[in-house]
């Protein structure tokens, strides 16, 4: 049904919803990864408790846990957990610094975001080498 009111003026605002061409600023990337890693750790918590429980209950349970952990898929999950934890921890520490008004200037914010990605990446690599 045609409206009897005059049309709203056509607006030509730029719109960019293409996920492949959006440039996510690096602090935003670190921020969303902090949330995703926190949610991921929450979901995997029962698994970690299971490993802890098995490994400490008795020798047979320990061997079962060890056998499970030797599976490549289990190692991959361990590595994902490790990365999530290290990223979340590094980004969390950065977040606390920002709360205390350290590093708020844009160039610092960018530099510390990059540092979070690099440091947690390197620590994860170190853990991966140890795992394999």
């Amino acid at each position: 049904m045609a409206s009897q009111y005059p049309k709203a003026p056509k607006r030509n605002r730029p719109k960019n919803l293409n996920l492949l061409t959006i440039r996510l600023p690096i602090p935003a990337l670190v921020s969303i990864m902090h949330r995703v890693s926190g949610a991921f750790l929450f979901m995997l918590l029962p698994l970690l408790l299971w490993v802890l429980h098995q490994s400490l209950a008795n020798a047979e349970a320990y061997q079962l846990a060890q056998a499970v952990l030797h599976h490549p898929l289990a190692k991959l999950i361990c590595l994902a957990v490790t990365w999530a934890y290290l990223h979340h921890a590094c980004a969390g520490i950065r977040h606390l610094a920002l709360d205390a008004h350290y590093g708020l200037r844009l160039n610092y914010a960018r530099a510390t975001s990059r540092a979070v990605l690099i440091i947690s990446g390197l620590l994860t690599l170190r853990m991966g080498i140890w795992l394999w």
């Binding site: 949610a39 408790l49 429980h53 400490l56 209950a57």
Partner: protein, 115 residues
């Protein structure tokens, strides 16, 4: 649930999220140091013995409880942002809350039962 006579409890949630975060950072560093200077010897016996000192078990339990409370605050925050239907949000919060209470009891059981 909200007691309007008191100030909003947003501040203490915020503060607890940070206190638990700092607790976890400290524990993680101590754990890493202990792994380097006092690595557990191989096999179940060594691993079990590594967990025997009461101080270590107490610190580990404190860490796990801090982690669980931190996760509870974080999960509530995330639900608040993405689930706008109050009923669904309340149900999801109850489910996740029960899971986390279960985790907390389980953590205590794990560390206590090996005495």
């Amino acid at each position: 649930m909200v007691d309007r006579k008191k100030p909003a409890h947003g501040f203490s949630d915020w503060a607890w999220q940070r206190a638990t975060a700092i607790t976890m950072v400290i524990y993680s560093l101590l754990l890493a140091v202990r792994f380097v200077v006092d690595a557990p010897s191989a096999g179940f016996e060594g691993w079990h013995a590594w967990f025997t000192p009461l101080s270590f078990r107490a610190m580990t339990l404190l860490f796990l409880w801090a982690l669980i409370y931190h996760a509870w605050l974080g999960v509530k925050e995330i639900l608040m942002d993405y689930v706008h239907n109050i009923d669904i949000r309340a149900k999801l919060q109850s489910v996740f809350g029960l899971v986390l209470i279960g985790d907390a009891v389980w953590a205590a059981y794990i560390l206590w039962s090996l005495a």
